[in-house]
């Protein structure tokens, strides 16, 4: 089980992903922007995992990751470009999840990233 902060401005998707993560036993908080994420982090930190969309209304995913300093970072993106994925991995994201993703992809990526930091 991990404490997860999920940041996505698509509230439908955030809710569905949070439900999947909670069912798998993770403790999930959500936010829809960088400012929202900072507020949640201020109240509920520390988190072990950040899962963030790359295009938020007030910031990009890199800025969210830098501002929050959560150890494990997973990116949510609509782009399946290999170059984008490489750039994100080089920037410290443990995985890049391309939307629309399946629950299995989400949970497996999270499990793998948790395993690597053990």
């Amino acid at each position: 089980m991990a404490r997860v902060l999920l940041v996505d401005d698509d509230q439908d998707l955030a809710e569905l992903l949070a439900t999947q993560l909670s069912r798998a036993g993770h403790d999930v908080s959500t936010a829809d922007s960088l400012s929202g994420a900072l507020t949640v982090a201020g109240k509920e930190a520390p988190f072990e995992v950040l899962i963030t969309d790359l295009h938020l209304p007030d910031a990009d995913g890199d800025s969210v990751a830098a501002a929050l300093g959560v150890p494990i970072k997973l990116a949510l993106t609509g782009s399946s470009s290999a170059a984008d994925a490489q750039r994100l991995m080089a920037a410290g994201f443990a995985a890049v999840l391309v939307k629309p993703l399946t629950g299995k992809q989400l949970l497996e990526a999270l499990a793998r990233s948790l395993e690597t930091v053990k």
Partner: protein, 142 residues
């Protein structure tokens, strides 16, 4: 004098997708799109075939079919449907994240009515469902 049949009943929608997240996302979009058609969800091709062959879902239906599923994937399901005379009226639209051209060719070769890429957000999925609704409501399916 020719007779014209105009006795449209409800067109059933059968989503065949193994992933809970995708199912939940689809259900939400389906509710938002406010379609009048009944929706049934099957977790794979085996379950979908059972629903069709037992006539729980009438053959007058549109199947939205994922490709990659355990037990029986979408293309295998489509082959089974096309080789079963009782299921000939079943309309199948592929509904997948696969951008593999071969998947698309295989599906169309098996008379899939189309290949729809799953949209990453609910509002776009709602639009896709409305298009399906409008298109099939205009079609005469006996």
């Amino acid at each position: 004098m020719s007779k014209t049949a105009s006795k449209k009943g409800p067109l059933n929608i059968l989503l065949v997708d193994d992933d809970e997240l995708q199912q939940a996302s689809f259900k939400r979009a389906y509710e938002r799109a406010a379609l009048a058609y009944p929706l049934t969800i099957a977790g794979d091709g085996v379950e979908a075939l059972e629903l069709l062959r037992s006539e729980v879902i009438p053959a007058r239906c549109v199947v939205l079919l994922d490709i990659h599923m355990p037990r029986m994937g979408g293309l295998e399901f489509l082959r089974a449907v096309r080789s079963d005379a009782t299921l000939r009226p079943v309309v199948v639209v592929m509904f997948s994240t696969s951008q593999d051209i071969q998947d698309q060719r295989d599906a169309l070769a098996l008379n899939a009515a189309g290949f729809l890429l799953k949209s990453p957000d609910t509002s776009k999925l709602v639009e896709q469902l409305k298009v399906i609704d409008q298109y099939w409501s205009m079609m005469e399916i006996p």
